[in-house]
């Protein structure tokens, strides 16, 4: 059985757990804890080690989705989770400009871990206050070839589209490496 891995990362409360939950065939295995900090009390619980989702492709192939913890004090997990990943998704809450700087820092950290393709998912695009993906491209200083995709983490089709775009980027990279 071959297992391949993708990492879903991003700042605190960006929607990573929901993203995995929308497509995982098993209930997301979360290592969540109740939030005690008043400042972080925008949701009841948060991921402290990782989230884990699975999509079985066949008897011999399975895709694992790992969600990273968003809070800075758990960032020692990022390096561990990034090892051997096929690619990664950086989730950004498009309605929270106060998290954009942190998203940029996380993106740069993961880029330094591995030269694997990645996409940026501009989450919560169904909300009125959402910043447009192309504005986020400028703010995050994304290179033109990096895809930034409108996303709603609770919508399965939207999550599928994000994962597919990442896989197309992986395919493009493989073709380039093979000179096709």
């Amino acid at each position: 059985m071959q297992a391949v891995k993708m990492v879903i990362t991003g700042p605190f409360s960006a929607g990573k757990t929901q993203f995995i939950g929308s497509v995982s065939e098993i209930d997301v295995v979360s290592t969540e804890r109740k939030i005690s900090s008043v400042a972080e009390k925008v949701k009841e619980s948060t991921t402290v080690a990782m989230d884990f989702g699975r999509i079985t492709v066949g008897d011999d192939l399975v895709l694992y989705l790992f969600g990273t913890p968003g809070q800075r004090r758990f960032d020692f997990m990022w390096d561990i989770l990034s090892q051997g990943m096929l690619g990664f998704v950086v989730m950004v809450d498009s309605t929270k400009p106060e998290t954009f700087r942190e998203a940029k820092r996380i993106l740069e950290t993961f880029e330094s871990y591995a030269s694997t393709p990645f996409v940026v998912a501009a989450n919560k695009q169904d909300q009125e206050d959402a910043w447009e993906p192309e504005d986020l491209r400028i703010i995050l200083r994304l290179r033109p070839e990096v895809k930034i995709l409108p996303c709603v983490a609770t919508d399965k089709e939207s999550v599928k589209n994000t994962l597919l775009e990442l896989l197309y980027s992986i395919l493009d990279q493989l073709d380039q490496e093979n000179g096709n």
Binding site: Q2, V4, V23, I55, V57, G58, L61, L63, R72, D75, D79, Q83, G84, M85, L86, G87, P97, E98, F100, R101, R105, E108, T109, E111, S112, Y113, A114, S115, T116, P117, E128, D129, A130, W131, E132, E134, D135, I138, I139, R141, K156, K160, L163, L164, L167, Y168, I170, L171, Q173, L174, D175, N178
Partner: protein, 278 residues
Amino acid sequence: MALKGNLRDFSTTQLLNLINLARKTGTLSIQTDSESAQMSFREGKLIYAYMGNNNGNHLAQILQNSGKLSAEQAQVIQSHAEGKSDKEIGHLLVTARRVTQNDIIQSVRQYILDTVYKLFTWGEGFFRFDANKLPGSGYITIPIDLESVIMEGSRRLKEWEILQDELPDLDVALRFTDRPDARLRNINLTVEEWRVVSFVNPRNSIRQIAKANNLSDFEIRRIVYGMLQAGLVEFVNQPKPAADKKESAARPQKGAAEPSPAVKRSVVVRLIDRIRGL
């Protein structure tokens, strides 16, 4: 979609950079507990700005401030200006040969710039960008390139933390952007900034440029930050985030980014087919 937030998280410099690069048209409103300001833009150029309440009728005051009218003249004009727009007043003043058209353009331009420069010192305040909202036809608007405004704004930055956050690694190199609209010649640079510009080269790290020009970490960061925000230069390699650098001693094996794991094309194609079918 709205562009809303607080200057605490998103500085005036960054907002102007976004408006410039995205060539936005609309009006940016900023509100603090005690003050308010509005700036209008057309296709990424600043065209109008004012502080406080504005009824589109303050040309006399602007011309007085720039020394083109005396206080007495300004008062007389203001008292007869009821119901007239700045454009109409300007037309009357030029026709009456009180001032020239150039006097009006230069005075309004300076007023707009002074207003915007004040905003760079605001560390907090709610902002909102309303796309396609522009001043009425009676307002005098002057198109101003934002690159120079951003450079001047970055010269006023005093917050070390912001610069440290934006530019954690000085061991990266810079190059000029390929943007065809980057107009270095139209930007007013200081002598120090020109000296930095002359060293911009993919072979020179920011730290080396600072050393060659005898600039402190703060000074070089401020200059490079301004040039980055004005869209003049970009990093050759993405800088390593500060946290990553701190940890590098604990992770000596993680010097360079790891290559992608070996995976066959057929595996990726199967993954694509599976996710399509979900």
